[in-house]
């Protein structure tokens, strides 16, 4: 069983201590140029799907210093990734060349996918906006080396706290090691709500939130910041006159700011124009002149973009370059730790509670999650998180984001229901009995063969003949506008839409004798890209560049499915244009999507379901379209 370091939580307190102890020894050994060849004969593979200079160089330097060697594919975008190889496959293959795999990736949760498929330990060198544990190790190491301890320190963190994976890893680790945290976000760059909620749940801790102005005030008068006596691990910030301030000040004990951790705006992960954000905290010699900041370390993960004036570089309190230099001994210690764990073939991973992760058809709500880009073999990709209200949401095992719980089903009885208050009890029982299935939508549940608990009467809307006629009309309408059949590709939205797309192409074949490419997209995760109809798993996706893409689905209502399908097509390439053909438009649009070709407009009530049954999907049926109402607990309640 391999040990991986995907998040800082993969290491126990004792292990972090051990790594730090060894890093100190190695730091000394580096100075004395007498580094033990602890990794002699071992190979590290570095896979960087996102540009990074210092992280990669510091990993590679660490490996060389230990007597090991490095193989590297720095520009992954231009190698196998561009040929459509999945990360899972790349990790599997490269892990057979090396003893250790270091991965940086643009998508959240990518490191866990690599770890699932790698035969050797994986170190996460940053995955999307998710985690960057080795940076955090360096940060903690620098802090502890300078201050002698972690518990009880007070650290302010300023800048872009919304997207920075460095910051998320750091806040998590500081909370864990009982460091008081003051966060000073720029406007619009606050720590996400879900992240704060998670910190509160995991560590019973809430960081103090300050505005940049407060921090400037703090620089002038550090007595503005106090430990609240009732909660030792909790700061209170008095910025304006508060009730019984005098009394509280007498009880409270003034503390000092031990470190100020600055971050740069995460431009590459999409952001505001920072130059315009006057609110962004900047530190210069002036800020740091205050006697109250006498012992305040100034930290930064680098590179910086003007948040810290270079006038402070020679100040003994500026430790950002030391922080970067520490990257080598800390990574050396971590590499040695993992390699020696491997030699010992240590038992299973410690101290991570096994998540209850039910079978699911649901999709992570985080658009940058790896599970939305790549097929995830495990069906158990969420933890169910109960809320105090009795409700629940899903937490992605890969990227840690929250996803709402929409539709739940029972694997044994094959029933589904919309998740709402009357279902809270069922959720618990089904979880316990391991019969819980989770779906994104009623449609998805029905396509999986599940039935609603309570049904209103069914009414047939279209017969087989009408469906056939309607598909013919859609096809004809489409052909009227398209002369170049070779540039056409008909792309069905899985599942029913794909069969309709197939039938449209068959009709063109019959009527015109022309073969048209048929593609399939799956908006519920699964393989990224437009797959050729009936293609095997390893077949490359269909090319859409410069072509006319006609998306086909059975029913449109909110428009979210169509929007997601369009996004998939545009991630796959650059079509000349895209159109949308649907058998039925039932209204209730939530997005500005307008189908180009519509078989039948069908006004419906929100609690009604329109179901297209196709013979390809449902062997007992001829083609039909039925409408019925289902009893939605949200409506009933």
């Amino acid at each position: 069983m391999n040990r991986h370091v995907l998040a800082i939580s993969d290491l126990s307190d004792e292990e972090i201590e051990e790594i730090f102890r060894q890093a100190e020894e190695l730091e000394l050994a580096l100075e004395q140029r007498s580094v033990p060849r602890l990794a002699d004969g071992s190979i590290m593979a570095t896979l960087f799907y996102e540009p990074s200079t210092r992280t990669r160089l510091s990993f590679e330097a660490a490996m060389w210093r230990l007597g090991g060697s490095v193989i590297s594919a720095a520009e992954m975008q231009s190698s196998s990734a561009a040929k459509g190889e999945t990360l899972a496959d790349t990790a599997k293959v490269v892990s057979s060349y090396a003893d250790l795999l270091v991965l940086r990736h643009i998508w959240d949760g990518a490191a866990r996918i690599a770890a699932e498929h790698s035969d050797v330990p994986v170190i996460n060198a940053g995955d999307g906006s998710h985690e960057h544990p080795t940076q955090t190790l360096c940060d903690l190491y620098t802090l502890r080396r300078s201050k002698g301890t972690l518990a009880g320190l007070t650290v302010a963190i300023g800048g872009d706290l919304k997207r920075g994976r460095t910051v998320h890893s750091l806040v998590r680790a500081l909370a864990r090691f009982k460091v008081n945290i003051v966060i000073v976000p720029a406007r619009g760059m606050e720590l996400p709500e879900w992240f704060l909620r998670r910190i509160a749940e995991d560590y019973g801790y809430q960081p103090t939130i300050a505005r940049p102005d407060d921090l400037r005030a703090l620089a002038r008068d550090v007595h503005a910041l106090y430990l609240a006596p009732a909660k030792p691990h909790q700061l209170t910030l008095f910025t304006d006159t508060e009730f019984d301030l005098e009394g509280r000040l007498r009880e409270a004990e003034p503390i000092t700011l031990d470190a100020l951790y600055m971050t740069r705006p995460q431009r590459e992960r999409g952001d505001d124009a920072v130059e315009e954000n006057t609110d962004y905290l900047r530190v210069d010699a002036d800020t740091f002149q205050d006697p109250a900041m006498r012992h305040t370390l100034l930290m930064h993960p680098l590179p910086r973009t003007g948040e810290i004036s270079s006038a402070l570089d020679r100040d003994p309190r500026s430790v950002y370059f030391r922080q970067a230099a520490n990257g080598v001994p800390v990574r050396m210690a971590l590499v040695n730790f993992l390699l020696s764990q491997r030699a010992r073939s240590a038992p299973a991973q410690p101290s991570r509670p096994r998540p209850i992760a039910p079978l699911t058809g649901a999709r992570c709500a985080n658009p940058n999650c790896i599970t939305r880009r790549e097929d995830v073999t495990s069906e158990r990709r969420f933890r169910v998180h109960r809320e105090p209200s009795g409700g629940a949401h899903l937490v992605c095992v890969y990227c840690d984001h929250e996803t709402p719980l929409e539709v739940i089903g029972n694997r044994k009885s094959k029933h589904y229901n919309v998740f709402a208050e009357p279902m809270h009890g069922y959720l618990e029982n089904w979880l316990r009995g391991d019969t819980l299935v989770i779906f994104d939508s009623v449609k998805q549940a029905e396509e999986a063969g599940f039935r609603p608990y309570k049904l209103g009467p069914q009414k047939a809307i279209m017969t087989a003949e009408e469906i056939a006629a309607s598909i013919d009309e859609l096809t004809e309408a489409m052909l009227q506008e398209i002369t170049e059949l070779n540039e056409l590709v008909i792309v069905g939205v899985k599942t029913a839409g794909a069969f309709i797309a197939r039938r449209m192409a068959d009709r063109i074949q019959a009527a015109r004798g022309a073969t048209v490419d048929v593609g399939v997209v799956d908006v519920h995760g699964g393989r990224e890209g437009v797959q050729r109809w009936g293609a095997a798993n390893d077949e490359p996706p269909l090319q859409v560049d410069g072509r006319l893409v006609v998306l086909v689905d059975d029913v449109i209502n909110s428009g979210w499915t169509a929007k997601d399908a369009l996004s998939i097509v545009w991630r796959a390439g650059r079509p000349r244009a895209a159109r949308l053909a649907v058998l039925i438009d039932r209204g209730h649009r939530q997005l500005p999507i307008k189908p180009t070709y519509v078989g039948k407009h069908l006004p419906t009530a929100p609690h009604e379901r329109v179901r297209v049954r196709l013979r390809e999907l449902d062997k007992q049926h001829r083609d039909t379209v039925v409408i019925y109402s289902y009893v939605d607990p949200k409506v009933a309640a």
């Binding site: 561009a82 999409g270 369009l566 996004s567 895209a578 189908p595």
Partner: protein, 177 residues
């Protein structure tokens, strides 16, 4: 280049169009509490601000205005693994469970709006998206439509729709050139 541009909308008629769109928005969204405007840079932003001001004037409610910039998103280059990295957003409020009205000056191919929808859905779990544009000039390449349209330009028109706004160009005008 033809020397005589045709003026489609002058300053008073743009003002009337904005006012009419604000009326339509209020009529279709009785619950404006969860409504927000997001302008698409550059020229969508001033219109978003004007719509917000007009809605406030008519409905008495302050509606937050954000902006997104997708001008760097290259729709026309071959980059298969492109993410929406060249886009940026300044939406300093939560859009969870909100109805977002995207505002732009001209709707043509729909490519801009398609990218905008991706950017928005990356910002939070919004409830719905509506679209308001000053000019719809047809020529759609993506199956997207606007909910509120100030002025429709004939599909067959070959000339370019040219929008100027006071805040950026010193004058309000929609012309064909």
């Amino acid at each position: 280049m033809p020397e005589n541009p045709t003026i489609l909308l002058d300053e008073p008629s743009i003002k009337r169009a904005v006012s009419r769109l604000a009326h339509e928005i209020i009529e279709r969204n009785p619950d404006l509490e969860s409504y927000v405007f997001v302008g698409i840079r550059s020229r969508g932003v001033p219109f978003a601000n004007r719509l917000a001001a007009k809605v406030r004037e008519l409905g008495g409610r302050e509606i937050p205005v954000g902006s997104i910039d997708i001008s760097l998103y290259r729709d026309d280059v071959d980059r298969p693994s492109e993410r929406i990295e060249a886009t940026s957003a300044d939406v300093p409020f939560s859009i969870d469970q909100r109805v977002v009205c995207l505002v732009d000056d001209v709707l043509a191919t729909g490519r801009t709006l398609r990218v905008a929808l991706d950017v928005l859905s990356g910002l939070g779990r919004l409830r719905a998206v509506q679209v308001a544009v000053l000019v719809d000039r047809g020529k759609r390449e993506v199956p997207i439509r606007a909910d509120y349209v100030g002025y429709n330009v004939d599909e067959g028109e070959e000339r370019r729709v040219h929008v100027r706004v006071r805040e950026l160009d010193g004058a309000d005008e929609v012309a064909l050139r």
